[in-house]
Subunit: 545 residues, 2 copies
Amino acid sequence: MEKSALQIARAAYQPKLPKGLQGNVSVKEGVPTQSVADQEEIKKLFPNTYGMPLIEFVPGEAQSYAPFNVGVILSGGQAPGGHNVICGLFDGIKRLNPESKLYGFILGPGGLVDHKYMELTADIIDQYRNTGGFDMIGSGRTKLEKEEQFEKGLEIIKELGIKAIVIIGGDDSNTNACVLAEYYAAKKCGVQVIGCPKTIDGDLKNEQIETSFGFDTACKTYAEVIGNIQRDANSARKYWHFIKLMGRSASHIALECALQCQPNVCIVSEEVEAKNQTLDDIVTYIAQVVADRAADGNNFGTVLIPEGLIEFIPAMKALIAELNDLLATPEGAALAKDQQREWILNKLSAANKAVYESLPLGVAAQLTMERDPHGNVQVSLIETEKLLSEMVANKLAAWKKEGKFNGKFSALHHFFGYEGRCAAPSNYDADYCYALGTSAAMLMANGKTGYMAIVKNTTAPAAEWIAGGVPITMMMNMEKRNGEMKPVIKKALVRLDGAPFKEFASRRNQWARETCFVYPGPIQYFGPTEVCDQATKTLQLEQAK
Amino acid sequence: MEKSALQIARAAYQPKLPKGLQGNVSVKEGVPTQSVADQEEIKKLFPNTYGMPLIEFVPGEAQSYAPFNVGVILSGGQAPGGHNVICGLFDGIKRLNPESKLYGFILGPGGLVDHKYMELTADIIDQYRNTGGFDMIGSGRTKLEKEEQFEKGLEIIKELGIKAIVIIGGDDSNTNACVLAEYYAAKKCGVQVIGCPKTIDGDLKNEQIETSFGFDTACKTYAEVIGNIQRDANSARKYWHFIKLMGRSASHIALECALQCQPNVCIVSEEVEAKNQTLDDIVTYIAQVVADRAADGNNFGTVLIPEGLIEFIPAMKALIAELNDLLATPEGAALAKDQQREWILNKLSAANKAVYESLPLGVAAQLTMERDPHGNVQVSLIETEKLLSEMVANKLAAWKKEGKFNGKFSALHHFFGYEGRCAAPSNYDADYCYALGTSAAMLMANGKTGYMAIVKNTTAPAAEWIAGGVPITMMMNMEKRNGEMKPVIKKALVRLDGAPFKEFASRRNQWARETCFVYPGPIQYFGPTEVCDQATKTLQLEQAK
C-alpha cells in the first residue's frame, strides 16, 4: 500500500488517553439508572439490561484477565475515527491478555449474519492507526433486528470463541446493539454486546454522550473548504455561494460550520420547523440579506443549507405527503410523465397547490418523476441549494422591478458530504475514538453488556477526560417508527434553547450584513495545541453552560 | 477581524528566503537573451525591452538606496500566495529604504486606470501574512492593453511618485505587463514594470519559470478532498465518483492530483487531442475500467476530469464550431427553443450529426439553449462530469444486455475549484511567493523593467533556491489571437513526453484495475519537513529529469 508523507507521519501518532485508562483500570459503579422516559415499557422490554448503573473507569490495582475474543462491527455511514476505535479495542484487550483475539466482521452487521470475518492482527491494525475511512473491514447498512439474524450470528460467535461483540454505529445501530445484548442475556449465551457512538451528523448525544465521533473531523473539513470559498467570495466579490452540507436530518453540521466560519446566512432546519416557516419565508430571508448587502456594494456572500431542510418545512412536508398519496392512486400511478403536472395541479388541495406552483418547474418535476421503489417522492434528490438560489434569483428580479434591489446576483453551488466522512481523524477524534475503543475493551473485560462506551469532559485536556460506560436503556424512550411503538435512543436535534444556537442567533444579523468571515484552514496534526486539539464550537459552548 | 486559531498561529510564520535574498543583494547578469521564437518580430515590437540578460541575485555588499514608491496589482483569478508576494515586496522595499512606500491598486488592473488605490502600511500587511485570497486589495479581469489605459495609469503613477509597478498575474497579464513596460520605456516615463507568475492552472511555466504560484496549494487542497472521497469510495464500496477539477484549458491540475492520489481514471485533455479521441472513446475507456473492476467485485472508483476537456475533443470542437455557425444564421437565431433539435439535426453535417445524436438529451439541449452574449455555445456550462457518467451508464447498460458487464454502476459528482483558489498557501507557496515579491523589489531597486521575478531550484531546501529575473520578451512567441498575430508568452500545456505524464501513463493501468488510492490529507504547516515542505509531484518529476 503506497502512502502519502502525512499518512506515514501520522501513523506514529500515539492517541492521548484519559488518566483512568492509562494504567491498571478499576470500575467505579454509580446507582441504578432509569430510561429517560417510558420507564415501565422499556424495563419490560429489557428485563436483563435495564436499570444497570453508570460506570466510570479510574486508576486501579493490577489484575489478571483470562484471554477473551472479541468481534467488532462497523455499522452505517463512515465517520472519521472508526479505525481508532478498533485500534483502541485491540490494544485494550491485548494489554489485558496478549492471547486475546480481535475479529472484524466484514462489510457491517451483515458480516456477522453471513459469517464473513477476518482476524485483526497487529500487522493489520498498525496499517490503520489514525486513518480515516472504514476500509479496514468495511461497513454496511444491514439492520440487526431479527431473531434469526441473532441466531445466525451466534453460530459464528461460538465457533470463534467470541465473548463480546462491539457495534460501532449511530442511534439505530446502538438501539439494535441493546436489543441484541438483551437477547443474548435472556438466552444466557454468555455473549456481551457493547456499543460505540458514531455519526458525523452529531445527532447521537445526550446527558451521557457528549458527542458522536466523526462530527469533529467532518465539520472541521467542511469548515476548511467553506472558509476557502468565503475567502474566494471576499476576493472576487461577485458570487453568492450556496453550500449544502450533509446531515440526514439534524442541522448540527451546518450550525457548527456557521460558528466556525461566520457565513452571511445559515439555515437551521429545526428553527424553520419551530417557526412554521414556509419555503417563501426562507427565500425572502435570504433575498433580504442579499439586497441589504447589495445596498452596501457587496454583491457576494455565503449561504449554508442543511441537507435535511426540505423535510423540516411544514408546508413542503404536507405537499410531499399529498403527492405521495395522489401518485399512489391507480390513476396517479398510470399517468404519463408529461401529463403529471396538469393532473397534479387539478387534484392538489388549495394550500399544497400554492406551494407546488411556487416551485421552480424543474424541482416540481423532479418531485414527481423520480420516485423510490415504494413510489415515494425522493426528497434527498432535490438539490436544495439550487432550488433556493433559483427562487432567490426570481424574488430579487421581482424586487428589482419594484426598485427594492439594485445589485447583482450570481450564484454558485456546492454540496459537501463525501469530502469529510472519511477524512483522517483530527487529534480530538483520534484521541476520543481510541479512548472509546479502550473503554469498550474494559467494559467487556468487566463482564458488562448492553452498555455503550463513553468518554466525557472532552473539552478539557485528554488526560482529564472521564471514560466509562452507560447502559443503553438509560438513553431510550418509546417512539413511533413505521406505525409501531419502538424503544429507541432519542435522536438529538438542534435545540433552539441550546448554547450553540443561541450564540449563532445572537450574532447572525451582524454576520449577514457585514463580512465577518473566519477562515479555519485545514486540520493540523503537529502544531500548537490551540490549533490542533480544540473541540468543536458546539461542544465548547455546550460544556461552558 | 475575528480569526481562527490557525490564522493566528500561521500569521507568525516567517517565510524562508533563498540565500541570495537573505542579506545584501548583488545582481549577477547573464548574456543577452532571445525570444523562444519569432525573434525578429518580437524584437521589433519591444525595441526597449528585448534582448536583456537573465538576472540572478547573489549575496553582495551593503548598498544604500534612495526611497522609491511602488504600486502593486493583482490580475485575474485568485491563487494561494498572492498576499505573500505583496508582503515580500513590502518587506523588500522597506529593507532597502524604510521611507519607500507601497500602494495597492484596488480590484485589479482597473484600479490603475480608474485611480483606485490604497497605501499598504505595515498594519495592513501584517494582517495578511501567509493568508490565502486576494482580499487585501482585490483582483480584477480588466486587460491593460490600450494606450489610453497606459496614459490614465501614468497620471496616478506620477501623482503618487511611483517608480515601478508590479503586476501579479497569469500569462496574458504578464504579456501585458511587458507591453506596458515597453510603452513606458519608449516614452522615457521613468516607470518600471515587473511581472510575477501566478495561476493555479500551472500553465505558466517554461525553461525559466519552474511553476506558477498557487498551483502547489490548490492541487494539495484538491488532493486532500479527492483522497477523502477515495477513502469513502473504498469504505462504502458502492459508488463511482466523477470529479471535475478546475483549470481553464491545461490538465496540469488533474494530472498532479492523479499523481498524488492514484485514482482509477484520470483523463488528460492534451492526450485526448493528440490521439484524436472521440467522446465515445473516452466513455468506452472509462466504462471498460468500470467493467473490469466490477469483474473483480469492485463496484466503486474515482474518475478525475479536467475542466477544459470538451474543447480538446476534436469531434466536439468541430460540432461546437458548426453549431455556432448554424445558430448565427438568421433562421437559426430566430428558432423557437422547442424546434431547435429537429432543425439542427437536419442541418448538421453527417459527422457532427452523429456526435450530436450521441449526446444525452439534456447536454445537447444545453449546448444550444444557453448561449453567451455573442450567441456562442458556452462550453464551460457543460457539466462534463455528469455528461461522462451518464454516457458511461448508458454504455454499461448496453454491455449488460450483451453480457459484457455484470456489476453495478452508481455515480456521484463533484466539482472542485473555488475550494482551492483561496486556500492559505502551503509552506512551498508561502516561501515561493515571498521570494518572488522580494525578487521583484530587488529588480526594481536595480532599475529593471520588462522583467518577471523568478525563483528556481525550488525542489531543494529554500535556502538553496535561486532568485532572479527573466526578460518577459525571452518567453514570447507570436500567436494568432482573435484573428490577429500577437506577441504572447507561450502557454504550457501538459507535455505527453514530459516526466509527469510519462510517470502517470506508466502506472495508470495498475491504478485502474487495482485499488491503489493514496490519501494525501490536509496541508500541514507545523510538522516534519517531508510532510510540510514538499513541492508538487509534477515539479519533482520535472526537476528529476
